[in-house]
């Protein structure tokens, strides 16, 4: 790549969740938009501290579930009552009760696909590469350290000011991550 040394953003390390959360509140209130917090586990209350709205994953799952149920019912009706009707024990060719168990299972199956697919889509995963994963120190984000990252692309970003803000928020170690 030609711009190998382009900067990605400032990464600030924190040692406990409370400090990280207060830093997040400050950055949220300062009006940054392209920033994120990286933690080894989900921190309770961090969504509010970052000003993240309720996740939309539920809608994907709901659409999956509805699709599953409808396709199950329609499939069984078409297969057993229309395309090749087999009379069994005087039972009706199609009954919603007999068709319910498989349709119910398909509701759950497609609902689960929706939840997982929706989560991956909203998170833009899987991705093979992320600039932060190149950073040596950042590897501890999955271990026991907490990071706040403000991207250089953020309209409010200015290296000196942002660094000061992060220092003020209590970070003991701040460095520039490369793209």
């Amino acid at each position: 790549m030609s711009d190998a040394n382009k900067s990605y953003g400032l990464i600030a390390e924190f040692v406990n969740p409370a400090d990280t959360m207060h830093a997040a509140e400050k950055i949220r209130d300062a009006g940054f938009t392209r920033w994120d917090v990286f933690t080894p586990f989900p921190v309770h209350g961090m969504d509010k501290a970052m000003g993240i709205k309720n996740s939309k994953v539920g809608w994907f799952s709901f659409i999956g579930g509805v699709t599953g149920y409808t396709s199950g019912m329609l499939m069984i009706w078409f297969l057993n009552a229309v395309d090749y009707a087999i009379p069994v024990g005087g039972k009706p060719m199609f009954s919603p009760f007999g068709a319910f168990p498989p349709s119910y299972e398909l509701t759950i199956l497609l609902g689960a696909f929706g939840a997982i697919g929706g989560m991956l889509f909203l998170n833009r995963l899987p991705r093979l590469h992320h600039p932060l994963l190149k950073n040596r120190r950042f590897a501890q984000a999955t271990h026991d350290k907490f990071y706040v990252v403000i991207e250089c692309e953020d309209p409010k970003y200015s290296e000196a000011e942002t660094r000061k803000l992060l220092e003020h928020a209590g970070s003991k170690h701040i460095e520039m991550a490369e793209e």
Binding site: G58, L79, P101, F113, H130, L132, A139
Partner: protein, 476 residues
């Protein structure tokens, strides 16, 4: 890490009311990753190779016998009129029942906010997946002409005939395959943050690449966690009705028929309770030795074992109640001579021993868990947990074989005895189960690292150990 900064005061409940922490010895967050990931890193211990060797041998026996079965036909099993469902169906129901504890721990206890689940859910979910794999083999090979297994799926065969969805056996196909798929996905999604831990710790390029590929580029971003937690919650919400439906549908394989002993409406809840009961038995059987062998005593604590014993006791009592209620319905309430005979035959017929082993192991044994002393003695718990599964296997033996061998007409009666193929086939699935489980132990984090970290006090931003300062910051 426990250097609480001087002046703060936390009012702790009196000693007698304090709960044992979920991670004992006050371990740090970093220690949790080191300890759990350490199990899958470093030199392979000797006991692992020995266990793996035995399991692999048994698994080979399992697949060898499938080949024998395919070439010779299901006659190699002890099946004959009137007992056409023998060990294959018993084992199918037994294995799939074992799986249910994993989903109960991962989904239902999650919805109930039972934080102790984090110590055991990963291993229990793995157990679910491997148990469902073992279970899935049986109906497939039981159909006799295995190469026509695809007739079970809605794919038209050469004559354009579709599967017939009024049969509960078709419902079973959908229930079990959905159960397997959703359990696998739930497990994998739970693993993603921990695979990222493994990726970031990996020393070799190969490990980094493989763990990295499966971690899908997970960074621990809070914007990701937000969607992730929602997806996890939804999956738990979907898995809960799923797990209840799976064994209900398995029970409908029996209940929808007309046979005395099978044709009963209490089967679905009774099967689900029995499934969870046997599953917890298996979780205890697996985790009691593993916590010692892998040095995880601080993460799978005695409190975890104690709580699992209590769940076993609760579900075992439901099972015991169901047995007695079933007996009452058949003998006194139904007024059906055939139903009454079926139960008299269970107790005093040629298979009386099966019925009484079941009663002893499933009704009497779990009641021992009322005693705190017994729940705290891991050796005893381990033995009892095995007896639970012996009892549950006999429950399915009672339901399948004893109900079938004598039905309405005495001219239609018979006696079933297993052949060596039945027995080795069953032992063989243990080989498959343990081979998978040992590979899981060796290559994946066997405790949910991120989830355990999240339930420690250090992870709570409103707790002094999480960095909260007295007077400000804690009020959200």
């Amino acid at each position: 890490m426990a250097d609480a900064t001087g002046n703060m005061k936390v009012f702790a409940p009196p000693a007698g009311l304090q709960r044992v922490p979920l991670v004992t010895n006050h371990r740090s967050i970093g220690w949790i990753s080191d300890r759990i990931a350490g199990v899958a890193e470093g030199k392979t211990p000797m006991w692992w190779w020995i266990a793996f060797g035995i399991s692999l041998t048994l698994m080979t026996v399992c697949f060898g016998l499938i080949v024998y079965l395919m070439s010779a036909g299901p006659g190699v099993w002890g099946l004959n009129h009137p007992v056409m469902w023998g060990w294959a169906i018993i084992n199918f129901v037994w294995w799939i029942g074992i799986g249910h504890a994993g989903t109960l721990i991962s989904a239902i206890l999650f919805l109930l906010r039972q934080k102790w689940r984090t110590g055991v859910n990963r291993a229990a979910e793995a157990m679910t997946i491997f148990a469902v794999m073992c279970a899935g083999i049986y109906p497939l090979i039981h159909i006799g002409r295995i190469w026509l297994g695809w007739w079970l799926f809605p794919i038209p065969n050469a004559n354009g005939i579709w599967p017939q969805f009024r049969s509960p056996l078709m419902w079973d196909v959908f229930a079990v395959s959905t159960y397997f798929t959703v359990s696998l996905l739930f497990w994998y999604i739970g693993l993603v943050p921990d695979l990222a831990v493994m990726r970031d710790r990996a020393k070799t390029k190969v490990r980094k690449f493989i763990y990295g590929a499966f971690a899908m580029g997970w960074t621990g971003s809070n914007r990701h966690w937000s969607n992730y937690e929602k997806a996890y919650l939804i999956l738990a919400g979907l898995s809960t009705p799923l797990v209840l439906s799976v064994h209900s549908i398995v029970s409908l394989d029996f209940a929808v028929s007309q046979l005395p002993g099978w044709h009963t409406t209490i089967f679905p809840p009774y099967f689900v309770a029995g499934a969870v009961f046997s599953g917890f038995g298996m979780v205890l059987t697996l985790l009691i030795p593993i916590r010692r062998l892998c040095g995880l005593e601080d993460l799978i604590t005695k409190r975890h074992i104690d709580l699992m014993c209590k769940v076993t006791l609760a579900t075992g009592s439901i099972v015991g109640y169901a047995y007695l209620m079933e007996l009452f319905i058949a003998m006194a309430y139904s007024g059906s001579v055939y139903e009454a005979f079926a139960f008299k035959n269970r107790m005093m017929g040629p298979y009386w021993w099966g019925y009484w082993i079941m009663m002893a192991c499933n009704v009497v044994i779990p009641q021992l868990f009322w005693s705190k002393k017994i729940r705290a003695n891991l050796m005893v718990v381990w033995v009892l947990s095995i007896l639970v599964n012996v009892g549950m296997w006999f429950e399915r033996f009672v339901i399948v074989v004893i109900s079938l061998h004598r039905d309405f007409l005495p001219a239609n009666w018979g006696y079933f005895a297993p052949t060596w193929v039945d027995i080795l086939q069953f032992l063989g699935t243990f080989g498959l189960f343990f081979t998978m489980f040992l590979l899981f132990l060796r290559f994946l984090p066997i405790i949910a690292i991120a989830e355990v970290k999240a339930v420690t006090p250090q992870a709570d931003p409103h707790h002094p150990e999480g960095g909260a300062k007295p007077g400000h910051g804690g009020q959200h």
